[in-house]
Structure formats: structure tokens, C-alpha cells
């Protein structure tokens, strides 16, 4: 077994594969980083668009009130009511303006405070008028709670998918690598030296040299799993460095490892470790299945 493990390493090393892998890890992380950077800029724009569209709703509303108040044909009661309602609506608009200003000035705390203010005032407005102006209260309350926590702990606001800050970036990168499809690509890639040997005449040499045959497959499996681990390690290391050197916050501040990933209730650290585990748990059996299937395919094809 040691002989075969040694031999499979020589094959990986001498075929240039062992050196191609780190290069690939760095290139892929680089691409994903660039992609994330674009994503962050887009998300910032989305925030602004969202504020804008809420703003428009409010402008219309307030415009309506103004008209009512100014309209000579309206009754005094209606005018008084409009005034009362407008007094509730205007602070929402102010909070939205504060949001926009905070995004433009890139300030997370100011943005969080402005959102909380807007949410609180929206709920108050809705309750007074028995309507839903912007969003359902469930969503608003949840967001308010989350933002209060973030504000209290000093965590930065980031998009969960695209961020170039080290911690968030690694978690997004790692959750990509935990997707079955990504793992499948990894299996396909890392099985190159196996498949090329198995489906060429190299297999004839192995068949007469390795007894029993499964030792070869096991040795290959061993290195494939180690290679995947190395790929995860290297790409995460490269991602960490990229985040440290080139990462920029969505607005301001940094996300620490112990911060909670929005929507999961778990810290970035835990989610990251879990995604690494999931990635490996997918990879190990998937690669084993590939070994089995290719071995039988080769045996079957040989006789024909």
C-alpha cells in the first residue's frame, strides 16, 4: 500500500498536476474575488434603488396629503386627518433620506440606525392607518432586531452572497465549494490522472503490477481527498489574503468571525467550518463512486 501511495504521488507530481492545483486554486479564488467585488458594487446600488423606490412611494403619499390640505373643496375634517397622517409619514421619508446619505457616505452605523428608524416609523404609520405601506411587519421587525444587534456589536453590514471582506468572502467561497455541483467538478478535475491512466494502456501495466487491483484505486482515493483538502486550504488561504489586502467594506467596518450570518443564527466561523465539512463529506463518497464506476466501465470496455 505504501508503494502505491508513493507511486500515485509521483504520478501527481511528475505529471505536473501537483503544481497545477495551487495555480488553479489561486486563479479561481481571484476570479471569485473579482466577481464578488462587482457583486458588492451592485448590492450597494441595489440598496440605493430600494431606498429610491420607497422614497417614491412616500413622495406620492405626502404629495397627496399636501394636495388634500391645500384643496379648497376638501372638508376641514379631511384636512385635519391628512395633516395628522402626514405628520406620521414625513419622518419615514426623513429616515429614508438618512439611509441614502449613509450609503453615499459609506457609514454602516448611520445606515443601520436610519433603517431602524424608518422601520419603526413605518410600523407606527401602518398601525395608525391600518394598512401596509412598504413591507410586512414581520420582515421589518426581524430586520430591526438584526440591525439592533449589529449596531450594538459594531458589526459591518455586508451582503451575504458577495463581500470582499475576508470573513464573509471565505464563507461565500466555501459555501460554493460545498455545492454538489462544485464538488462534482472537483471530482472530475482531480480524477484526471486516474482516468487518463485507466482508459489508456497504462491500465494494462497497472493490472499486471498491482495485486490486488483495489490498492491502486485506494491509493488514488487517498491523494484525491488530500488534494481536495489542499485545494480548500490553499484557496481559503489565498481568499483570506485577497480579502485582507484588497477587500473593501460594503459601507464601513469589518465583520468578525463570531458575527452571526444573517438568516442562519450561526456565526461565520461555524458556518465556514460546516461548509468545509460538507464539502469533504460530498467529495469523499463522490470520488469513491467515480473510482468504482470507471473501474467497471474499463473492465466492461476491455472485452469488447
Amino acid at each position: 500500500m505504501r508503494t502505491l501511495i508513493g507511486f500515485e504521488w509521483r504520478r501527481l507530481h511528475r505529471s505536473g498536476f501537483a503544481w497545477g492545483l495551487p495555480v488553479l486554486a489561486i486563479v479561481l479564488v481571484g476570479l471569485f474575488f473579482w466577481f464578488s467585488q462587482v457583486g458588492v458594487d451592485q448590492y450597494r446600488q441595489e440598496l440605493l434603488n430600494h431606498i429610491q423606490s420607497n422614497d417614491e412611494i412616500l413622495s406620492q403619499l405626502i404629495g397627496g396629503y399636501r394636495q388634500t390640505i391645500a384643496d379648497d373643496l376638501e372638508t376641514a375634517d379631511r384636512k385635519a386627518e391628512a395633516k395628522k397622517d402626514m405628520a406620521l409619514a414625513v419622518p419615514i421619508g426623513d429616515a429614508l433620506d438618512a439611509q441614502q446619505q449613509a450609503v453615499e457616505d459609506r457609514s454602516t452605523p448611520r445606515y443601520l440606525r436610519a433603517v431602524i428608524a424608518a422601520n419603526t416609523r413605518t410600523i407606527a404609520f401602518d398601525n395608525a392607518l391600518h394598512r401596509v405601506l412598504l413591507q410586512d411587519h414581520h420582515t421589518l421587525t426581524a430586520q430591526t432586531k438584526l440591525y439592533q444587534t449589529m449596531l450594538a456589536r459594531g458589526w459591518a453590514l455586508e451582503d451575504t452572497h458577495y463581500t470582499t471582506q475576508p470573513v464573509g468572502f471565505l464563507v461565500s467561497w466555501q459555501s460554493w465549494l460545498a455545492q454538489p455541483l462544485a464538488v462534482l467538478l472537483g471530482v472530475a478535475l482531480l480524477s484526471t490522472t486516474w482516468v487518463t491512466a485507466l482508459f489508456t494502456n497504462n491500465a494494462d501495466l497497472m493490472a499486471t503490477t498491482v495485486q490486488p487491483w483495489r490498492r491502486w484505486a485506494l491509493a488514488n482515493w487517498f491523494w484525491a481527498v488530500l488534494s481536495w483538502l489542499a485545494f480548500l486550504t490553499l484557496s481559503n488561504a489565498a481568499g483570506w489574503l485577497a480579502g485582507q489586502w484588497l477587500g473593501t467594506p460594503l459601507l464601513s467596518g469589518t465583520t468578525p468571525w463570531h458575527a452571526i450570518v444573517p438568516g442562519t443564527g450561526q456565526s461565520y466561523w461555524i458556518v465556514w467550518v460546516q461548509e468545509i465539512g460538507i464539502s469533504l463529506l460530498w467529495f469523499i463518497p463522490m470520488y469513491g463512486i467515480l473510482l468504482l464506476v470507471t473501474t467497471y466501465a474499463e473492465k466492461w470496455g476491455r472485452q469488447r
Binding site: T3, R14, G16, A197, D204, A207, T208, R304
Partner: protein, 230 residues
């Protein structure tokens, strides 16, 4: 105990029979030829013996047992086509590997490499080998594992005159050591310098002939396969 017996062997590819009801028996150690024109099944036969292929009918035995993968591993050294070599590995890496898997100490390698005069290029990658260098590497791999039966597929192919002499000496040495070799070749002339005990593949069967000293290769070949094959 017979070294090798092939009993009523039939094998064919999808639509093309290669052997039907073929028999072969080797009882005494020594060098045996396996001769036929290209494409008549020499490689296929060696693959069947080493159980890389399974026959449709018939039985192949080695040293008293069926040719299971284990039995083949224990008794057979197989010099295959040079396309089995890894282009990105060196000759030494190949020999080390087969020696290690067969539990042969690596100290056995140097004398064989010396004898085959390949020490100077042993550390180059196979990608840079000439045909003759590859053939000698394959022979070294077959010799180093030190198995009693050697299946040698076209070991004389592509050898320059110097290499031919080296290989012939190595084969005679193996014979003197009591080993058995089944040596395939499409070139009877070349093979007759090594052995006169020859199996021919004729009409999908195997025919054994001991060629007399006064017979020339050309006569035998022409009689068996017709002149157009030569």
C-alpha cells in the same frame, strides 16, 4: 507440473474470432516463440494468459492453478507494448515501482540496468526515449520482478543491432537460470536466433513446431502463412 497449459481456448472480439479451440502446453522451462503475422492474435493471447482478457470458452492454467490475477502476479512477468509506459515518469520510476510492488529489493535493479546498458538514461523521462530504449526498459521491468514465466510481447521490435545482442544475451541468461519465456514476434528470422521452439498462430489455433537446424525461417513462414504475408 506444467508451466502453462491452454485448453480448448476460444476468444473473439465483437464480430471477429481470434482463437477457436486453441491448445498449448509448455512443460519444460526454456525459451518459446510465438509467431504470426501482425493482427493474428499474439498480443491477444498474452493478454488472455495474464487474464487481462477473459476467454469466451476454454481454460488457461499456470503452474497447476487457473490464471487468476493472484496466480499471474505470483508467477508471470509480462513485457507489454511500450504504450503501457507513463511518458511523464522516468525509467527508474517505472522499475522502482514494479520492484516495490513485487517485493524485490531495489538493489536488484542496478545489475539488470547495467546488463541492458541503460544506466545512462534511466533517469530521463520515458517521453524522451527512443523505441529501442523503451523496449529495453520494458525488458528490465520484466527481468527485475524475477518471475518464473515471462511473457514477452515483441521484445525484439525496434531494436538496433547492439540492443538486439544485449537482449538476446539477457534471454539466454534467463534460460540458463531456469526461467521460461514465451516470446512473441512477427519476425521469425529474428526469433530463430533466440529459440527454435515456436508456437504459430494458424487458422485461429496454435501449432507447435520445433524447427530443425536446416530449415530457414523463410521456408517455414511461407509454408504456414503464404508468401504474401512475409
Amino acid at each position: 507440473m506444467d508451466i502453462l497449459t491452454i485448453d480448448d481456448l476460444s476468444f473473439g472480439w465483437r464480430k471477429q474470432p481470434v482463437f477457436s479451440h486453441a491448445f498449448l502446453k509448455i512443460e519444460q522451462p526454456g525459451l518459446y516463440g510465438l509467431v504470426a503475422p501482425n493482427g493474428s492474435g499474439k498480443t491477444t493471447l498474452l493478454n488472455l494468459i495474464s487474464s487481462l482478457l477473459q476467454p469466451q470458452a476454454g481454460k488457461i492454467s499456470l503452474y497447476g492453478g487457473l490464471n487468476t490475477a493472484k496466480n499471474v502476479f505470483d508467477h508471470v512477468a509480462f513485457l507489454q507494448d511500450n504504450s503501457v509506459l507513463y511518458p511523464y515518469l522516468s525509467g527508474r520510476e517505472h522499475i522502482n515501482f514494479v520492484a516495490d510492488t513485487h517485493h524485490i529489493p531495489r538493489t536488484a535493479i542496478a545489475p539488470i540496468a547495467d546488463k541492458l546498458e541503460m544506466t545512462s538514461y534511466l533517469d530521463k523521462r520515458v517521453r524522451h526515449y527512443s523505441l529501442g530504449m523503451k523496449q529495453r526498459l520494458l525488458l528490465a521491468m520484466a527481468l527485475v520482478v524475477d518471475r518464473p514465466l515471462m511473457l514477452l510481447d515483441e521484445p525484439l521490435n525496434g531494436l538496433d543491432p547492439t540492443s538486439l545482442i544485449i537482449v538476446r544475451e539477457a534471454l539466454n541468461q534467463a534460460k540458463a537460470d531456469g526461467q521460461t519465456a514465451l516470446i512473441s514476434s512477427h519476425n521469425l528470422d529474428e526469433l530463430m536466433r533466440v529459440t527454435r521452439d515456436i508456437f504459430f498462430v494458424v487458422d485461429h489455433a496454435l501449432r507447435f513446431e520445433h524447427l530443425a537446424a536446416d530449415e530457414t525461417a523463410e521456408q517455414r513462414y511461407a509454408a504456414l502463412f503464404g508468401v504474401h504475408d512475409k
